[in-house]
Symmetry: C2
Subunit: 228 residues, 2 copies
DNA sequence: AAGTGGTCTAGACCACGAA
DNA sequence: TCGTGGTCTAGACCACTTA
């Protein structure tokens, strides 16, 4: 019997061997099903998954082609800090550094597309691994969208965990970049001023409305890794 | 009629509404198919995709559960530098800075799991956007695995493009981090020494054998972004 | 031993999009 | 117009896992 996995690796093999070069059109699903001696649904699943992986490009009527420039995609897991730290066998500790309710500063209003006069909750938190600074968290929560946040003190629970429990499914944009440590960051993370720090920024929407913006600055040397 | 997309969003809706809380077990596929009035294959596809997305966890016999801590995954596209630059409407230019064949240094042997005495091709390249430095590339190619690389001069073609054409499918590990600019980096990227730079490192294997290791250092301010 | 998901089949209808 | 992929169906057998 032919399984969709076999078809996938056979197709990859033919592309690698050069039988189907860049931009080549593959035979139709019906044709391939006949060749492999299986049902069209089986071929469909194999080709669909390869298209998801960025190897193939499919269009109705014109057929299935080998992507000239394969879309390389890496999937990164975004863990909760607590899990990340504990997964490394270290003891996790959370601390709230600052908590304030205020009118959204201009840069944040622009960034999150907030209404003028929008009120936000600003939180600064620290995450420690075995008593060493691990991550600095600078978070802003839109109170218009999530008024319940104002009643939380976040003294013991990290905002990420609370948010995850409150709005488990949301649209997220994440980006990675580097920044130099300013005086405050250096003090909190225990590094030299000017040190190169890796950070992630996340914007979250729920039901089309802006919920939260966070900058997570990692201690020096931190890296995120993925395989594909 | 009920489509697998409708089922997906209905399931998400019920989880969001709290009907199926964390760790809750969903009804079996057969049961759900009866409820939705569709075939089991349709339910299967919906639940399988939600499991791929990290929302559900499925196990034979024990059933489908809502993940307590949803696995957040972000998919980043890894473009060729040329495409990235041109996609921003800038003119792309490539330059080879250095090319040398040598015995692999110890740190690289360890990192790539190379044989003792392994020979490698070391390349340093620059990528420019509108004549401004865009990315610094420090690449090592294992000549044992890819002897053909020694015959290439890489004067006009960037190694990434050549590698992609030569071994289109390979296993890749990528990681992101930050580093401070040393004198050489600062000169090449036109930034101050000590500036915080974002970089990606990629290790590639083909057929289980190490092929290449590359560090791509971006100009100051660069970020990579993904949605999920 | 038994229930659950994993997969395949053979057939069907439909939507898109290039000619 | 009409060929291609997209999806659904009803049924089947199997593999895994837990009780």
């Amino acid at each position: 019997m032919t399984t969709f996995r076999q078809i996938k690796s056979d197709v990859i093999g033919r592309i690698t061997a050069g039988e189907w070069g860049p931009d080549a059109t593959l035979p139709s699903e019906t044709e391939l099903a006949a060749r492999y001696g299986c049902a069209r649904a089986t071929v469909n699943r194999a080709l669909r998954e390869l298209a998801d992986d960025g190897v193939l490009e499919r269009r109705r009527k014109s057929g299935t082609r080998v992507r000239a420039a394969p879309v390389r995609q890496a999937r990164f897991e975004i863990p909760l800090v607590r899990r990340e730290v504990e997964g490394q066998g270290a003891a996790y500790r959370y601390a709230l550094v600052e908590r304030a309710v205020m009118a959204a500063p201009d840069w944040l209003r622009a960034r999150m597309a907030l209404e003028p006069e929008a009120r936000v909750l600003h939180l600064v938190c620290m995450h420690y691994a075995n008593a060493s600074p691990y991550q600095y968290e600078d978070r802003w929560i839109a109170l218009d969208t999530l008024p319940a946040a104002e009643a939380e003190d976040f003294a013991a629970t990290a905002p990420t965990a609370w948010l995850l429990a409150t709005i488990p499914f949301s649209q997220v944009e994440i980006s990675f970049a580097a920044t130099e440590a300013d005086a405050a960051l250096a003090a909190h993370l225990g590094c030299a001023e000017g040190a190169a720090l890796f950070f992630a920024e996340r914007s979250t929407w729920f039901d089309g409305k802006p919920v939260t913006f966070v900058r997570l600055v990692h201690r020096p040397g931190h890296r995120v890794t993925a395989r594909y």
